[in-house]
């Protein structure tokens, strides 16, 4: 447990010291909130869907968590190329403990970043339906963070070059975000698009957070949480397996 803790602490310390990273990572979500939120707001309202900021805020939080968690995979590639990973791989500790420490660290950073964006959405005018639901929403956010941090570990264990991560961003992270229903409602979608949204784990994350924060859910919170838990277990096992096969 101490090994898991120290590796978790390392990720958190690095995040808290990196003010540039914190500020830079606010850019994307702020743009979505500012440009899309206020730009499409009137159209959304005229279509009878209510406030777009209310609808989109959970999606932007989900996006932030997704991006931050996936970037922990880049950090792993960096560690792999420049040695710190070797330092852990030659230590007399099980690789599972290293993987869990890293993954939980990446997930914690993603949740912290999500919390920051949650505060920003409050400033932008977002209002949760109940303050009591906020901690529950953060449990769902934590599940999203673990899922994608574990996936990032699996990808970081598989890729050998940084350049590969650009492909991951374009062909995995961006589609995951755009198919999640973060910025549009899931009702009435074309059949193919609807099917694609259903195989995207972030869809259930955003739906769960939205359900808890504004009371609007497509699948129901119970199903959202069940899917997230199942995918979480699957991805952690997959990440651990990939990590166990790393050759330095």
């Amino acid at each position: 447990m101490t090994v898991v803790y120290i590796l978790w602490l390392r990720e958190v310390r690095k995040y808290l010291r990196s003010r540039v990273q914190i500020i830079a990572s606010l850019g994307g979500p702020l743009m979505y909130l500012g440009v899309l939120g206020f730009g499409l707001g009137p159209v959304f309202q005229r279509a009878g869907e209510g406030s777009y900021i209310q609808f989109m805020a959970p999606g932007v939080i989900g996006m932030t968590v997704l991006f931050t968690a996936m970037f922990s995979g880049i950090a792993m590639l960096w560690d792999r190329q420049f040695g710190f990973l070797k330092e852990t791989l030659v230590a007399p500790v099980p690789r599972l403990a290293i993987m869990v420490g890293r993954t939980l660290g990446g997930a914690t950073v993603a949740v912290l970043q999500g919390t920051l964006i949650f505060v920003v959405t409050l400033i932008a005018g977002f209002r949760p339906q109940s303050l009591l639901a906020v901690p529950l929403a953060f449990l769902v956010i934590a599940l999203i963070a673990v899922i994608f941090s574990a996936l990032a570990t699996a990808i970081g264990s598989t890729l050998k070059e940084m350049q590969g991560f650009q492909m991951v961003m374009n062909f995995l992270v961006m589609p995951t975000f755009f198919l999640s229903g973060a910025i549009y409602p899931l009702e009435g979608l074309p059949r193919v698009l609807g099917a694609l949204t259903r195989v995207d784990p972030l869809t259930y994350g955003v739906d769960g957070v939205r359900g808890l924060l504004i009371g609007r859910t497509h699948f129901g919170i119970a199903l959202d949480v069940a899917v997230l838990l199942a995918v979480g277990v699957l991805f952690v096992v997959f990440g651990a397996w990939r990590f166990s096969r790393i050759e330095a």
Binding site: I6, R17, P92, E161
Partner: protein
């Protein structure tokens, strides 16, 4: 130095696809010895260190460290060595103390002993005053000293140093080897090192093994190698053993990343 072998490598080969990086290599390192592993670029030095440090499995042959089979008992073996890799493996965003502390936890050093040992080593390597500074603010020489200090934290029996002075200025190199000699004398640790600098190997190592194209071509003290080749310097002996052709290797992904990192650090 004792007559007890602490490293025993027997008929070890390592192939990556069709390329054989290490080819039927055998040698023994005695406890307390400073053993230098010399060879041109791509000769198989780092691959051998990676096999000895459990990062790679040999294709054939056996490796033993402190009487333990490296392949069969990697966890036990890892407790017995410290390693300084060719590329810095410190976390630049953490302080010197934090880097040491993480290492201590990874090697199960109890908290109290960890603190004492961290302090003793940081003082020994003249880093105590900088313990709370972020590592990314350190020069190359200071980082190397910290890496060696960290590698000794769990009192290993063997310290592997893979090109520890690469990229350092002559003063830092000189200081580094003074530290290495001192710690062998004070801690009795066996040092297994690779270096490109012949003068360093000549000055520091008790025995030297020369590897070329994955094969061991000579082993002995500096004087023995000079005598064997009829030369007057270790560099001349090295050239006599390995030839004078310049090895032109294509850059690996790690080389490219290393290059990018150096540009960024400037």
């Amino acid at each position: 130095m004792s007559d007890r072998p602490i490293i025993r490598v027997q008929h070890v080969s390592k192939a990556f696809g069709k390329v054989t990086a290490v080819n039927d290599v055998s040698f023994v390192v005695q406890a307390g010895e400073i053993f230098a592993f010399l060879g041109p670029n791509g000769a198989g030095k780092t691959t051998t260190i990676k096999m000895l440090t459990t990062l790679l499995r040999p294709t054939t042959g056996s490796l033993e460290l402190d009487g333990l089979d490296v392949t069969a008992r990697p966890m036990e073996v890892r407790k017995r060595f410290g390693v300084v890799f060719q590329d810095p493996s410190l976390d630049g965003d953490l302080t010197a103390w934090e880097n040491m502390d993480i290492h201590g936890v990874l090697y199960h050093v109890p908290r109290h002993a960890r603190r004492e040992r961290c302090e003793a080593l940081l003082r020994m390597f003249e880093l105590w005053e900088r313990r709370d500074d972020l590592v990314k603010t350190f020069s190359g020489g200071v980082k190397r000293r910290l890496e060696i200090a960290r590698g000794l934290l769990h009192t290993p029996k063997v310290l592997f140093l893979d090109e520890p002075t690469l990229g350092l200025d002559p003063q830092s190199r000189n200081q580094m080897w003074t530290h290495v000699r001192n710690l062998r004398d004070s801690e009795g640790v066996t040092v297994f090192l690779t270096t490109h600098y012949m003068d360093e190997a000549d000055r520091v190592a008790d025995r030297i093994a020369v590897i070329d194209h994955g094969r061991l071509v000579a082993t002995g003290s500096s004087a023995e190698l000079k005598q064997e080749t009829g030369t007057e310097s270790l560099e001349a002996a090295f050239l006599a053993l390995t030839g004078t052709t310049i090895r032109d290797e294509s850059a690996t992904a790690a080389d490219q990343m290393r290059q990018v990192a150096r540009v960024w650090r400037r």
